[in-house]
């Protein structure tokens, strides 16, 4: 069920990543200010956007879980957050590398964009111990959904707060007035964003498929260990 369409999606993801990397290194011009180091922008920023959107999507799935009580929405929410945390690790590492190259420091504590992302990341890092501290599966899913909704609402609020901080250190390259990205850079950025977005969706589907298969195996094992009348109905799809 979860593996449906995984093959074309994987092919599209690889094609988009190849296209994005080609544009980054063979098409996009060198930045007048930062030069070659600016190429990290096409990786770091899409990763950050996709990770943050993924956290919000996890919150939306959590709302659907609380409304319907269906376990699959909890699984969607969990996997969305899980994948966004992995992307978050990549954001922090690539951001640190860019900071070192541009500013001469691996981390700058007075830069709101960096610190706010770290806060969001650390907040979601607590999702795992919070979730797995609860043994009862139903309560675990319910409490995790509440966490995902509250944290998901915090993400756009955090983003807006940072925008309002108007830092002079972190450049705002998407400005509509003078100083925004030129066309070739914007095209490269958008293709990179598409590629990273597709990668996120593909990996989420991979994870869900693996979890679904694992859950069905557990059910099958239980059904075989203790067969009941009409046992075939016990082997139903499940995501653990």
């Amino acid at each position: 069920m979860y593996g449906k369409g995984l093959r074309p999606l994987s092919i599209a993801t690889v094609a988009a990543l190849v296209a994005a990397l080609s544009l980054v290194f063979f098409y996009a011009p060198l930045d007048a200010d930062q030069g070659f180091i600016q190429k990290i922008f096409y990786l770091h920023v899409p990763l950050a956007i996709v990770a943050l959107v993924g956290f919000v999507i996890g919150g939306v799935f959590a709302i659907l879980h609380l409304r319907s009580g269906e376990g699959r929405w909890d699984a969607y929410s969990y996997v969305s957050i899980h994948m966004s945390v992995i992307f978050g690790v990549a954001v922090l590492i690539t951001g640190s590398i860019w900071a070192k190259a541009s500013w001469g420091h691996w981390w700058v504590w007075d830069e709101p964009t960096l610190v706010s992302f770290l806060i969001v990341f650390l907040m979601y890092a607590t999702y795992y111990p919070f979730r797995y501290a609860i043994e009862d599966r139903e309560r675990q899913g319910r409490y995790a959904s509440v966490f995902a909704i509250v944290a998901g609402a915090f993400v756009p609020l955090n983003f807006m707060a940072v925008r309002m901080a108007q830092s002079l250190v972190h450049p705002r390259v998407f400005a509509t007035t003078n100083g925004g990205l030129p066309g070739s850079m914007m095209l490269t950025f958008l293709i990179s964003l598409l590629a990273i977005g597709l990668l996120w969706v593909t990996l989420v589907k991979f994870e869900l498929t693996a979890k679904s298969a694992s859950g069905q195996l557990k059910r099958l094992r239980r059904a075989l260990d203790a067969p009941a009348p009409g046992g075939s109905s016990r082997v139903a799809p499940e995501v653990s």
């Binding site: 290194f25 063979f26 060198l30 070659f36 690539t94 190259a101 195996l217």
Partner: protein, 76 residues
Amino acid sequence: MLPLIAATPALPLDEAGKYVAGAYIVFLALIVIYVAIMAAKLQRIERELRELAGFVESRANGDQAAPAAEKVTSDV
């Protein structure tokens, strides 16, 4: 491959190059690690499925005591 390399602009692979390479390698490494973890999970699922198939086979044959895994390996 050669035309591709020829089309490459003069990349300044000095001070900045190592940082850019580092960032992209980190990204690639994370994906490879994730795929490796998924491959390990897939292997575990396959192994469990093989055990279950063997168990079902032995039950169907009325041979509960037969080692399940051995029966299935011949099918693979």
